[in-house]
Symmetry: C2
Subunit: 149 residues, 2 copies
């Protein structure tokens, strides 16, 4: 189990990768972001995106999928997140892309009111198969402190 | 068509509502956020959430679904978003909840480099059936300027 005490500020972690499929891009967009440029190449061609691209929220969801699988495997004692700062969709994400998810621990703070709890901030950067950063955000994450022996 | 020129700073808009179902909470979590507390009541009972709650990213996706359907219907000339600031998951979202999505235009800025483009910031607040705010964030949105007559 990874606790607050085990986190090293500045440490970088590669969480894993995922492939972006056209089918999933369309399925997510139909359900959660049915703007024309996320539904067809034709509509996207008239925008900055140029061709069908993933909803930014879909990119966030795919990123969380990669992170969640890694932290569950490592048994990190995380308790969810109160929020996100400075989220930037830097470049479009297209069907056929492969996304690589990296994190860096920015800082960590013991809770002032709850002795069994701490929080840390981590900056997540997602790059595509060309090494281009497509998404970056800073999360606040709650985590258990190591129980006294 | 709603263009940059039609946006009123300070204006509040009710975008719509959606119901949170247990089936969809589990489906989203299995795919995009398989942390134990998003997969079962038993695991959630040992956390702050108390019982099965939606992934925060799922709440964002449902919120975007409500907003996207409203702006597509209104033919807002939006061109996507470069990012989000100060996103806060304020309270858990549970199966059976109904979410209401409201927005308020914070400011708007014409593009300095592109005469046909502007951007605005909008603060989105999502409340549940009890009037409790569960999610709040500020988006930056790109939008077309009204073409010269």
């Amino acid at each position: 189990m990874i606790y607050f005490e085990d986190l090293d500020v500045g440490k970088q972690t590669f969480f894993g990768s995922c492939d972006v499929t056209r089918e999933e891009v369309l399925e997510f967009a139909r359900k959660y972001d049915p703007q024309p440029f996320h539904l067809s190449d034709e509509a996207a061609a008239r925008t900055y995106f140029g061709r069908l691209s993933a909803s930014g929220w879909h990119t966030c969801a795919m990123t969380m999928g990669v992170i969640a699988r890694a932290v569950v495997k490592d048994e990190q004692a995380g308790l969810g997140s109160p929020g996100i700062d400075e989220l930037r969709w830097l470049k479009p994400v297209y069907p056929g892309d492969t996304l690589h998810v990296n994190g860096r621990i920015v800082d960590k703070t013991p809770s002032r009111s709850k002795p069994d709890l701490g929080s840390f901030r981590t900056q997540t950067t997602v790059t595509n198969q060309d090494g281009v950063a497509v998404l970056r955000f800073t999360s606040i994450v709650l985590i258990r402190r190591r129980p006294a022996a």
